[in-house]
Amino acid sequence: MARIDLVDLAQSYSGNDADPSSFALKPISMTWRQGGAYALLGPSGCGKTTLLNLISGIITPTRGQILFDGKDITPLPTQQRNIAQVFQFPVIYDTMTVGENLAFPLKNRGMPKPQIDARVKEIGELLDLTPWLNRKATRLTPDAKQKISLGRGLVRSDVAAVLFDEPLTVIDPALKWELRSKLKALHHQLDLTMIYVTHDQTEALTFADTVVVMHDGRVVQSGTPQELFDKPAHTFVGYFIGSPGMNIVPAEISGRQARICGHAIGLDRSYDTLPVGVKIEVGIRPEFVQVAAPAPTLLTAQVERIDDLGRIRFARVRVGDVKFAARVPDGFSPEGGEVGLVFDPARVHVYADSRLIEGVL
């Protein structure tokens, strides 16, 4: 159990002299607090697994340091770091029984047998593996195998952190839910720092209390699921989190007014000192744009299609070349293919060069 600090950590697979923009992980500094449940979220190839493997020591960083509770462990090999990791595909030692599999990490570290047995029993119970403990770990279903892998990750009570690298990829959707809630429950019971890598936002948002969003080798935002939803710090976060993603529209801003597609909408905050010469955009989540009957005061848009998600309907609309997703209020049915768009001024964010600009109230 420890706080993990990353200090200017960077990784390049083509050497230290390579062009920094080609780094798999651009220099980052951040802190993972003890006992936190983190999700590392990002598309494939954004550097999440690299970051995870750096922390566990499977790869050595090109630059920077990793500190566990202030102690520099960068040069230590994986075995000497106090870390557990669960991989995407289950790894089972198939000559051993399920119980021996769980005991393996403890046995390797020379823990006395009575203690091992007690701990294996405890973890076996937590993961519902008790009836299987004395069975050979072959011929199991994938979710049972992955449970064993998870168990090996959780069995050591002294680890600095447990790292999960997309551990539920091979699991059926129905069991995914179950295992994920189980993990969440285990996090509360065991008080371990957990870092969970995934490219699935639902997985990240349900598991973690802090979601770290990565994009192109950088951490673009870290915060609670609510923060990521309400106030994306980067247009990528806005677009990546949420379904459908945020509407990002080129705009001209002056004071408390934004002009998009030749139409002025009011803003809650004032933006007087925007950087010049960069791309200015506004972002607003589809949940906060409503379609209404066309009116002269509203931005007029053409409806392309309506997506019915069950509890909520989204209209895909177009203004000139710009596309929006907007919420369709209950009982409203767009007629004639033309609608007006109502924006919630409090929810409109302004981005300069893809980064969020804080306005003045």
């Binding site: 566990s56 020591g57 499977i58 090999p77 994986t78 075995q79 870390i83 557990a84 990791q85 991989f87 995407q88 595909f89 289950p90 790894v91 030692y93 198939d94 000559t95 051993m96 393996f104 990490p105 390797n108 570290r109 072959t138 011929r139 199991l140 279903t141 994938p142 195998k145 892998s149 090996r152 990750g153 091979v170």
Partner: protein, 300 residues
Amino acid sequence: MDKTVNNKAWFLVLPVFLIVAFSAVLPLMTVVNYSVQDTFGNNQFFWNGVGWFKELLDPSSDLGGRFLASLGRNLAFSAIILAIEVPLGIVVALSMPRDGWRVAACLVTLALPLLIPWNVVGTIWQIFGRPDIGLLGYTLNSLGFDYNYVSNEFDAWATVIVMDVWHWTSLVALLCYAGLKSIPDAYYQAAQIDGASRWAVFTAIQLPKLNRVLLIGVLLRFMDSFMIYTEPFVVTGGGPGNSTTFVSIELVKIALGQFDLGKAAALSLVYNLIVLIVCWVFYTVMTNAGADHRKTEGAA
């Protein structure tokens, strides 16, 4: 499902049937024929029933004594070379590089002995071991070892075994190397995370994953060594005395040296039967292991 009945289709099988008949079944039947008869030459044969087989399995008779002694020697030989080649092959495979140009270099070097014909291997070692002009024999003798594979039983055995190890360890090593290559990196990473020692990685991951290739390796090496003929024949000629006379050498002596066709036929049938039984046992074990494997994979 309705099947079309077309007896003309049998003609398609006919070529194979003929080839197998002439290449395997008919020769085997002549051997069966010889094995139940005796002859005094002049192409005159007498019915002998199972007489040769009885004699073959009776240690007190000349034929039985020779057969059982050579069988014992052969089994001992196979056991010794398996006990050396399998662990050695694993060690070689484990110490091979995993990538880079060295892999190619190692593979080619390892494959070299496998490419040499049996009788050439025999000749190489026959000369290599000679105390007068052979590098090995001469060196050993000048170091004070009284090494002579022609007159000393132990030296003859040692030479034949070392020769076989030299010739065939590569096969086991290459099989194991292929087996090791197929283990996903995640296993090694997980073992690192689990704090496994080198030995634990070997026993918990590598050895279980090598299980199947090792079974194939043991089968191939057992069959080959059990049927070995050329190399010991070239090096020691079965001597000194009968000390390196293996079953196949004994068989050739009886069949071609003494021209005792009945005895030789009975011996080769029993020999063949042993080979078939061992193959069948291995095949059964392997398919069972394979079935286990497939079931797990199927579930995954």
